[in-house]
């Protein structure tokens, strides 16, 4: 077990986890603002960080992944950094924020995914800092002592006061219920996806329970128990609160611990798509490759040259006798060359059609 662990990744993941713990310590003003009730969540989050960084580091060491990673940063820092930053920003909003590439695959599919994505991201943005003790709320002491005044609530970030709002105001309502809104978004998204997964024959044939259905069930469980926590107080006088709190904690911690291993890792992988776009854009500036069979441009020369390196590192050797490579051919060229080789074999065998 230990021997099969990846040393480099282990070191990076340990360092990052230590950094997270240090930031929790100092960000919560030496734990003054840390809420001990959230210790389980903190443990889950730190583990998730460790796992994610570990898997990401292992992943980066694969030759094709490393090639893209390396090239992306080379291009990024070479030349016009600001132009790249702009492109990156635009791509981030379009592809990570709005997942625009899912829309052509199906409108309902996009809506479902977008709702889940926005619900989860918002929830992460709220709960991580809360768990770390980076955000906390206090009652404004003056207003709470003075019975005449309107009670004010204060939100603090890293121990600094960020804003103040009236108790019972609209902002208070939005702030205190933010996680409920996230839950509703996720629930609607999950239901859309569950419907797809339970009714579409193609998906039914290829999906797995752990890989595709369990993540949806887990998201649903988190959202419902989460909603249960707040509605319990509002509508059920806090009955069964402990049960809700425990099931919510268990599902969330399961989710966190599972991020590095299962479907949710795609959230972490997705930004690589922007890297692939930068790679293509830069490659096009440098020139296209022409297929020796079709005579047409089909990919960037950079891509073909890099693929020769990557396939070699992976143990494949497509070099031909004349010094060129099978990889110089476009996909159509490759298919045609196979058919031509087939014809040649037939000709060498008398030339007749064989049956």
């Amino acid at each position: 077990m230990i021997a099969s662990l990846n040393k480099k990744a282990l070191i990076i993941a340990t360092l990052v986890s230590a950094l997270v713990i240090a930031m929790v310590f100092y960000g919560s003003r030496e734990l003054q603002n840390f809420d001990p009730a959230l210790i389980g969540y903190l443990f889950g989050t730190v583990f998730a960080f460790f796992g994610v960084v570990y898997r990401y580091s292992v992943w980066l060491q694969r030759p094709p992944t490393w090639m893209y990673f390396k090239r992306t940063w080379q291009f990024f820092f070479k030349g016009k950094v600001f132009a790249h930053l702009l492109f990156f920003g635009k791509e981030f909003v379009q592809n990570i924020g709005f997942q625009k590439f899912i829309y052509p695959r199906g409108r309902t599919r996009w809506i479902g995914h977008f709702l889940m994505a926005i619900g989860c991201t918002l929830a992460f943005a709220i709960t991580f800092p809360l768990t770390f003790g980076w955000i906390h709320f206090t009652m404004n002491a003056e207003t709470s002592l003075n019975p005449e005044s309107i009670r004010m609530y204060e939100a603090h970030f890293f121990g600094f006061k960020i804003f103040e709002f009236k108790l019972g105001s609209f902002i208070a309502f939005l702030t205190f219920h933010a996680l409920n809104w996230c839950s509703w978004l996720v629930i609607i998204g999950v239901l859309i996806f569950m419907r797809r997964r339970l009714t579409q024959a193609g998906l039914i044939a290829t999906q797995t329970f752990e890989g595709d259905l369990l993540p949806l069930i887990l998201l649903l469980a988190i959202s419902i128990t989460g909603l249960g926590l707040s509605y319990d107080y509002e509508f059920m006088k806090g009955m069964a609160y402990d049960f809700m709190a425990v099931t919510h904690a268990v599902t969330v911690i399961m989710f966190l611990i599972w991020i590095p291993f299962g479907k949710f890792f795609h959230i972490i992988q997705r930004p690589a798509q922007i890297g692939a776009h930068i790679y293509k854009r830069e490659g096009m500036k440098r020139g296209m490759a022409t297929c020796p069979h079709t005579g047409k441009e089909f990919a960037t020369q950079l891509h073909i040259d890099d693929l020769k390196i990557v396939t070699k590192e992976l143990g494949f050797d497509f070099r031909l006798e004349d010094g060129s490579s099978h990889l110089d051919l476009s996909p159509e060229g490759k298919r045609s060359r196979l058919a031509m080789a087939h014809l040649k074999a037939r000709q060498e065998n008398g030339g007749k059609l064989f049956g």
Binding site: G202, A205, T206, F316, L338
Partner: protein, 189 residues
């Protein structure tokens, strides 16, 4: 994968000399539930300037698939039956590594989806014990799906070959190409 009724005694046999370019397989492929309305099979003219011969190409389902090896996102996987599946939609970042590296020119990149898609041998059908769509409609049986005994009976002068040479690389596949009797390998270039 869920429970299946995959028939391990049935195999895919392709004979491109029989392809007449009718594109019935293309239409049929788009009926496959696993790729929706996008056709994955390739029919193209071999060398339009000198011949009207067309060729047909399905995924060969390689034993050690180059496509999966070069994928930076670990999006392509091979199952216990040797079927190499199309890109996992959540993972694929649309980089086209697989498209450019596959020695048979099989994967297709769908630009609008920013996703690679390829033949997964009609997994919705083959996993239920049925034949792939293309093989059921091909009028010349350039695409044939069945047992080795059936093909041996029907094509006494052919041998199924699943070893290919591309330069210095030897590739073996699950799908067979029909060659003149006695041939064991197809050298491409």
């Amino acid at each position: 994968m869920p429970e299946t009724n995959y028939q391990t005694n049935q195999e895919f046999f392709v004979d491109m000399q029989r392809c007449i370019g009718c594109k019935a397989c293309e239409m049929a492929c788009a009926e496959c539930e696993t790729n929706g309305h996008d056709s994955m099979i390739h029919v193209n003219y071999v060398d339009r300037a000198v011949t009207i011969q067309t060729t047909v190409q399905v995924c060969m389902h390689c034993d050690d698939p180059v496509c999966a090896n070069v994928c930076p996102a670990d999006a392509i996987s091979k199952d216990e039956f040797g079927v190499v599946h199309t890109a996992n939609t959540a993972r694929c970042i649309g980089c086209s590594n697989c498209v450019m590296a596959c020695p048979f020119g099989v994967p297709k990149k769908n630009e609008a989806y920013d996703l690679m898609m390829k033949c997964n041998m009609c997994y919705d059908r083959t996993s239920a014990g049925k034949k792939p769509m293309c093989a059921t409609v091909c009028p010349t049986q350039a695409l044939f799906y069945g047992t080795r005994e059936e093909i041996a009976r029907m094509r006494p002068n052919s041998s199924p070959v699943n070893n290919f040479i591309f330069g210095n690389e030897k590739v073996s596949t699950k799908v067979n190409i029909m060659m003149p009797k006695g041939t064991t390998v197809l050298r491409v270039d």
